[in-house]
Every structure is written in C-alpha cells, then in structure tokens.
C-alpha cells in the first residue's frame, strides 16, 4: 500500500469521474439565456393531510386560528402541487449560488417546508418562536448534527458539502418536518402555491429536469432551451396513498 500508488489511483478515479459526469459549468457564450417554466399537477386523489395538535405548545397553538395541516402532500386548487423541487439533473450546472438561503422556524412549522440549495451555499436558520427548537437535520451523507435554538438567539449558519435530500425534524415538536434539498447545481426551483416553478438564466441547450415530491417520488423529462426563449415543462404526478 504505497501512498504514491494510491495517489495515482485517486487521480485515475477523478479523471474517469470527470469524464463521466453529465454536469458542467457553462463557458462564455454570446447567446441570451433562456428559461423553463411549468406547472406541477397530480391525478387521482391525494392523501388527506391531518390537522396538527399543537396543544402541547401553547405559544405556537395561539398563532394559528385554524389547526395547521401536515404538509407532506401540498395539494392546491386546480389539481396542482406546491413544494415540489424541480432541478436540472443533467445540463448546465449554473454559476455557484452565493445568496444566503433563509430557513425559518415560525409557529412551530418550518418555513418554507422544503428549501432547495446548492452544496456550499450559505443558509441561515432562524427561530422566530417563543419556544426552544431542536433543529435536527437527519443527514446520512453529510455529517449529522443536532442543535438547540432557544427563542431570541441569533441564526445558525449552515452549509452542506455533499448533495443530499435531508429530512429535518425538531425533537421537541414531533410534528415539525421539512427538507433541505442539497443539490450539486444552482438551477433549482420549488413549486409555489399555484404549483408553478420557473428556472431562469439557463444557457441554451439540452436539459434533463427532475421533479421531486417527498411522497410521490421523482419524474424526469428532457427539455431544450433556445436562446432567450422560455421552454415549457409540466409534470404530472400520480397521487398515491402512503
């Protein structure tokens, strides 16, 4: 086991990995960037979300006039779905994302329920509640940590080094549940309250888009973006009971 041999081996692995990777940073090109827009919808009957009983946490319960519902499947009018992550799984990787992602704990809920970020993109986690939260992202590939965040304390600064879909929970408030979707690209979007997403600043070319819903899984489709054009890409999930 000579170190030199191992280094050469590591380089060989790297070169083969680099040759095989479908992702690449865009070179300078004299064309206008395009975009992709679309709507996420579902067919069938989505599973019923249940009301959350926050009686154990009065400071949170009184912030909600009506009971908060679970958010695993966020069905919206017109058979659309919110909180679906759409990202480029093959194609231009985009410039490294540098803006800070904000993740909040408010009313004993994670706001937003799902956030998408790039590896090494800075994230700030706030607690705007009058109770302590225990922010516990259950990562497997990235190091798993668990931190107490009492009311009125400064935000936690977090980055992740490896791509991973990380479920987040609070051990004190069992119902609190969210996701950090850490991707190795910056081209990502989470569908809004109307089930719409948009990816902007895409250099013209071929893309593979992946849409991920935490209970319904993933779907992919190929999209070609022209110079300065807006391509359409709709996804339809088949609602399954779980």
């Amino acid at each position: 086991m000579h170190r030199r041999n191992l280094s050469i081996l590591a380089l060989a692995v790297l070169v083969s990995a680099a040759a095989g990777t479908p992702l690449h940073r865009s070179a300078k090109v004299a064309v206008a960037p395009g975009s992709i827009e679309g709507t996420i919808s579902y067919t069938g009957t989505p599973p019923k979300m249940r009301p959350i009983d926050m009686a154990k946490e009065p400071t949170c319960a009184k912030q909600h006039a009506t009971p908060v519902m679970t958010e695993s499947v966020d069905a919206r009018p017109g058979n659309t779905l919110a909180d679906v992550v759409v990202y480029v799984s093959a194609g231009d990787q985009g410039p490294a994302a540098t803006q800070t992602v904000v993740y909040d704990q408010k009313g004993c809920q994670y706001v937003p329920h799902i956030t998408a970020l790039e590896v090494n993109q800075p994230m700030e986690i706030f607690n705007h509640d009058q109770t302590s939260h225990n922010i516990h992202p259950m990562s497997k590939t990235n190091p798993e940590w668990n931190k107490s965040q009492p009311p009125g304390t400064p935000p936690l600064h977090v980055t992740y080094a490896k791509p991973e879909f990380i479920p987040v929970k609070c051990n004190v408030h069992l119902w609190m549940h969210g996701y950090f979707v850490v991707l190795n690209i910056s081209h990502s979007s989470v569908s809004n309250d109307n089930g719409k997403f948009s990816l902007k600043g895409l250099p013209p070319g071929k893309y593979t888009l992946t849409a991920w819903q935490e209970k319904f899984g993933t779907q992919t489709q190929e999209v070609t973006v022209g110079s300065g054009a807006t391509a359409k890409a709709d996804f339809t999930f088949k609602a399954v009971q779980y």
Binding site: S7, L11, A18, K56, P95, N134, P143, E144, S148
Partner: protein, 280 residues
Amino acid sequence: MTLQTSQRRLIATVGVLVFAAANVSGAQESRIGVLTGHAAAGKKEYRRFCIGCHGPDGDGLGENAQWIDPKPRDFTAAVFKCRSTPTGTLPTDEDLSRSIDRGFVTSNMPSWLPLTGQTRADLVAYIKTFSPRSREGHGTPIVVPAETPRTVESILRGRALFQKMECWKCHGPAGHGDGPSASTLTDSKDNPIRPYNFAAGSRFKCGDTNEDLYRVFMTGLDGTPMPSFADNVKPAEAWDLVHFLRTLQPLKTTEAAAWKAWLPTHANTLKPIGPEAEQH
C-alpha cells in the same frame, strides 16, 4: 468567469483526493496516548468480541442485534453519542477508546477494560475503517474550562436555565424523563429512545464526572434527540446546569448536600418548573 470557477473546483477536488489518498494509512491506525492501534490486528479482535452485535460489516446488524434495545452502534454511519468534539464532527480516537473502556450503562455494551490497552487501540483503528468519513479526521475537542464553585447560587441559576432552555420538555420538570415530548422521541434510526431519568441515579452514558456532564450539553449526543447547546449556553451557565442536575439525582454529591440544606427554608420562593412557569 464560470470556467475559472470550474477550474478552481477541479483543483480543489484533486487536492482533496490526493490528501485523502495520502491519509488512507492514517485511517487504518489509531493513537491512544502512547499506543498505536492497527486495524489489521483490530479486525481479529473485532471478529472475536464485537461481531455478534455490531455485525461483520460494522452496521450494527449482528445476529444478536434483533434482541437488543438500544440497538448496537452502526459504525458505517460514523455517528457517535459520546464525543469530546462538536456536534456533527467525528470523535477522537480517545473518545472511541473511552467508550470501549466504559461500556454503555443501560445498554448491552459492557466495559471492555479487561482487554489490554493495545487490543482496545487496535479495535478503535478497525472500527474507524467501516466508514469512509473517518478520513475526514475528527473534530476539535471542545475546551472544558475550570469548574465554577458548587454553590446554591449556581444551582439556582442552573435551575432557571433548566426552565429557560426547556430541558424539562423531554427530561420532565423533576428530571424523571417524563416531559411532554418524552414519549415521542426517536433516535436517528427511528427507534424509540428515552430521555435520561435523573431520579434513577444510574451512571451517565458518557461518563460519571461533572466534566463529562458538561461535555454532554456542549457536544450533544449525536444520533439522539439530545442537541448541542454550545451556540447558546455560556461555559459558566453550563456549569450551573451541571450543578443543578446533580441535585436531581439520588446521589451523595456536594451539590445535593448544599441543595438539601437550603431547600427546606426556601422552597416557597421557587417557581415550579414546567409550562405553568412560562405563563408568569
């Protein structure tokens, strides 16, 4: 511009890989004090002593595992409760060694002190080979400053923190492990887990001393619901908490004696711990 970024990333990746390759031999060894443990030697000992519970692949799925609760540690995940290092980082070789020495009270993991120091060092070296993460290296151990005096004032400050930091939500207002969230707790493998019951007076999993208890707050018990308080509890406050927690145990400690002497004449000045106190 973006090309430069990609080049920079490539260079960084090459650097990391070369560094990792150079450290492979390091990952096969452990250092415990003056001893150097070797994974190859540790493998033989592991197959003799550890394999039954932790399994041939170190994933905690040995043939005895199904009968055991709490479950044996999964070394492939490299998530360890008892560390001297911050939450989310790997423990030092000494931390792993101390866990083997001490065993885990209220679990099936016995103390392995009867083994020689060299054997235990070899086991640490071998255990680390189950996870590629061990190449990252361990975290920087937290600094444990000198303990503050074990006074009633310190205990009272610790009691206020027990309320403020909401320790009672899991550990219960009297530390009986029966707080409102206690019944809902699960570990990172979704197995039910109980918060420590101070009234049971059993030893702490990560060591008996006040310093060990201090370390538990500041590092958290990774893989369990117990978080790290390092970002929001100052060292002096952590010592106050330690002193208060000692009064919850049915043990003869300096703190318990001081509390017992003070309490009968002052009990009516104390606000109860728990949700009632929040509303005042």
